[in-house]
Subunit: 421 residues, 2 copies
Amino acid sequence: MTGRISAAYLIETRYPLEVAAAAMAGEQSSGTFRTVPGETPELLQRFGARVEFIKDIAEVETEALPFSRSPKTLGDAKLRRAKIGLSWNIENTGTVLASVWSTVLGNLFELHHFSAMRLLDVAFPDVFADAYPGPAFAVAGTRRLTGIERRPLIGTIVKPSIGLSPEATAALADTLIAAGLDFIKDDELMGDPPHSPFEYRFEAVMAVIDRHADRTGRKVMYAANISGDFDAMRRQLDLIERRGGTCAMLVLNSVGLSGVIEVRRHSAVSLHGHRAGWGLFGRSPDVGMTYLAYQKFWRLAGIDHMHVNGLSNKFCEQDESVMASAHACLTPMFERADRPDIAMPVFSSGQTAVQAAETYRRLGSNDFIYCCGGGIMAHPGGPAAGVQSLHDAFDAAAAGIPAHDYAATHPELEAALQAFG
Amino acid sequence: MTGRISAAYLIETRYPLEVAAAAMAGEQSSGTFRTVPGETPELLQRFGARVEFIKDIAEVETEALPFSRSPKTLGDAKLRRAKIGLSWNIENTGTVLASVWSTVLGNLFELHHFSAMRLLDVAFPDVFADAYPGPAFAVAGTRRLTGIERRPLIGTIVKPSIGLSPEATAALADTLIAAGLDFIKDDELMGDPPHSPFEYRFEAVMAVIDRHADRTGRKVMYAANISGDFDAMRRQLDLIERRGGTCAMLVLNSVGLSGVIEVRRHSAVSLHGHRAGWGLFGRSPDVGMTYLAYQKFWRLAGIDHMHVNGLSNKFCEQDESVMASAHACLTPMFERADRPDIAMPVFSSGQTAVQAAETYRRLGSNDFIYCCGGGIMAHPGGPAAGVQSLHDAFDAAAAGIPAHDYAATHPELEAALQAFG
């Protein structure tokens, strides 16, 4: 087993950058606070993390995070931001993804040297492509399961998020599928509660999906939220497969890395990755990790669809960050044609026909799921007109025609641009 | 199924506090950005999150986190910090812990209203005490398995963290157990790598443990790090049980909530919870969650030992925070005598005989594991003297005798106070 795992970090410290980088490397490999007898030069050479680069960025005035410390000998040393690159021998972790997680994250955020610490990127050697199955469906499989070619999938999230009975959920699904949707998902708040037991909800929605499939020849994908305890998740996965479902949704941050890997190994359907709680990792510019690094773990674990927010969204995230996340999902992790590992990005949060052209243009691809709530349900012409407005918007984008021009002959798009613009 | 889940948050916003609290309640229950047809007054009444309290804390000058927004109509509204209490009908989630996770965390950190958002506490209704097994061993079980009564368990972490062969690990364990240790754990970086396959390492260490147990009548607890994929974790748990091991270690943040629950249901040994990556959640005062809230999820999931850092530690965490974490682990979550659910706190990071008395005094209990590395291995008299110094320190603390007085007649303690004080 050969190769190295590498990772890049943003840091802020008063220590000399070389000392700070060495502290990171030591803590996350063979070292500890004190020199210990067993840490021989040979061991250090083979298992010690290597500092690959140090890039000084800028001097800053005040500590971003509290409680960092530096020795009195440093006096009033300047506070600096920098990028640090580290790498580890694959012999440290083998191909155990949980061990990589401990290695590239671990205690780093708590080291007293640092008043900012953020994982910017991580790279895995090829041996991980053999160890983990990766996304089993991703773009090609999702297109095959839904019968949708050469355009984005148009989807929605069942709302109200919580409180609808299985029957009410199915009735809403009926309206939405009749309107022409390709994809429906549960809200992350909706799991297996007493007022909408998973089994009843799933059966009710699938009956609707099947009825429409008989008519259209296409089966709408339903990302049913199975996130929970394994006994229940296994029963629910069995039901999804038995009943001809094509997707299961997982809340990544609660099911966990080992949990998701286990679901993947026992699932024959596509896995829709919801990032609820992502703000814990991504909201602060001074601590946490980038989505670029985050999504790589979940793709290795086998997630097919990854949420990336959307342009002009209702949250805090900036458009540039949204598009960087989407591009990351579509960028291969390994240089191997035999092992496609991309995930399909899912745009969601305040999306309507208005952002469609820009989303397509900036992504440079049709390989995504575009989830709208109000953009469909609140369209002045009703849900079917809402879905049509999205088809129009993406048709126009693909043909290179400005949406407002295309709208002159496409009234549903015109109405959407008026209502949501 | 009755009861409510409740949670408290620290927020920072320019919105009127009532509006901000309503936005949190809406996003995390039946609401979404737009009013949707199905959100009837009846549904909202039953499933809407309830704002339980709003406590204005202070006006602040500048946004802690970037990219929050407030409408122009608010003009130059003041930026305020406040505490917000929310509660949810148990009907929203049932007893699915992953659904609770999505409910109390979810998208909150990304809402544009807020420039700080931190989960301060969460409380579960009694029905969760039936739904989840909780810690199966905790204090009483850990004492029974190790044969240690009425004093803290003295432990250590195998160092170097990474790089030792199974034979070298066993040799080190031999030294440490001969010195009188009660507890040994793998570092979180050490899992199942090619240079120290779990099976070989575990067998080698257990052989040493058994040999000493024949002599002393007490079996040292070895928290072997099984964190990884489930196929391997199941094999490793089987081995631990078959071989008479008494503990398995899990890196909570990578195994995940669903993963830990599944391990607990298939494990007959105590579970040692490592919080590697905790800084992602806890390091910033402006985003994330408190350890008080964090540890409750893991205790419900069944973790017996929870890491809490240590007094005068080598990381950033302040002593007050360390002790609050340790107290939290020992505080029951439910008012039910039939269902003990406390976890045993594990002090670790730069610990020596020096902090022993203060740890005991501030915790007001002997029910903890005290892990020392250098505090044992770097004792001037050697490892056995290091362990003796810790016994002396805790004996003195329990008897109410100042360590320096007790040291006058206890040379190992005297040497430790000199070396590490």
